[in-house]
């Protein structure tokens, strides 16, 4: 469904504009999270020059991929919420925030270790 979102307007009734705007703000918040992860990926490559290249590239790519995933998930969730509101259904539940939280925690821990012990190449 989310890859053909133009069909969204054909379903159900138009929800209260306030709910749509709230959904839009949630979408933008996820998009900012995605941009922060993408920016963080570049920052790892640019500001950790002492780190061994494979480790640095791996961290940067993990963050970039996480950012891309987060952006794709942002629009998928936005479409699913908008559709649920149009049909008068419950809003969709998701495990994504928990998974993302854990993943960011692991990456942050790894970066602290890298920064503290300086695994130079």
């Amino acid at each position: 469904m989310w890859f053909a979102p133009e069909r969204l307007r054909e379903e159900g009734g138009t929800p209260d504009y306030r709910f749509s705007l709230a959904n839009e703000r949630t979408f933008l918040a996820w998009l900012r999270t995605a941009m922060a992860l993408v920016g963080g990926g570049f920052a790892v490559d640019q500001f950790l020059p002492e780190t061994a290249r494979p480790l640095r590239l791996a961290l940067a790519l993990v963050l970039l991929a996480g950012g891309a995933l987060c952006a794709l998930r942002a629009i998928s969730h936005w479409v699913r919420c908008e559709r649920a509101m149009r049909r008068g259904e419950d809003l969709p539940m998701s495990r994504f925030p928990v998974v993302l939280g854990l993943a960011v925690g692991v990456v942050a821990l790894l970066m602290v270790i890298v920064a503290a012990f300086g695994w130079g190449g």
């Binding site: 979102p5 306030r18 839009e24 933008l28 918040a29 920016g39 950012g67 942002a74």
Partner: protein, 112 residues
Amino acid sequence: MPEGKGTHGPRTRDRDPGLQPERTRLAWRRTTLACAVAASLAGRQTLHGGIDPASLVVLALVVVVWLAFLALAHRRIRAMRMPRPPALSPRAAVAAVACTLALAVLGAAMLR
């Protein structure tokens, strides 16, 4: 001006007391700022490994992506002037996500 009902005076009918359009407008501003930071880092990434024609092309593409997001946000912010703005169009949402993905891909191509 339409006649007001209730205790909040005459302006409650043409202005959302929850300030939803304003909050959404500011959310777009914050996102534009985040996009500027990500685009700056992506641009810095293109010049990180030295300046050559390929890196300049990628840098130009990063600037184009950032301008595209700026235009998108500007359009949506203008729509927020209405007391009851229409919902975000799926096309605009897809375009905003595409800008983020483009920054990630352009920068990833420039990792050294």
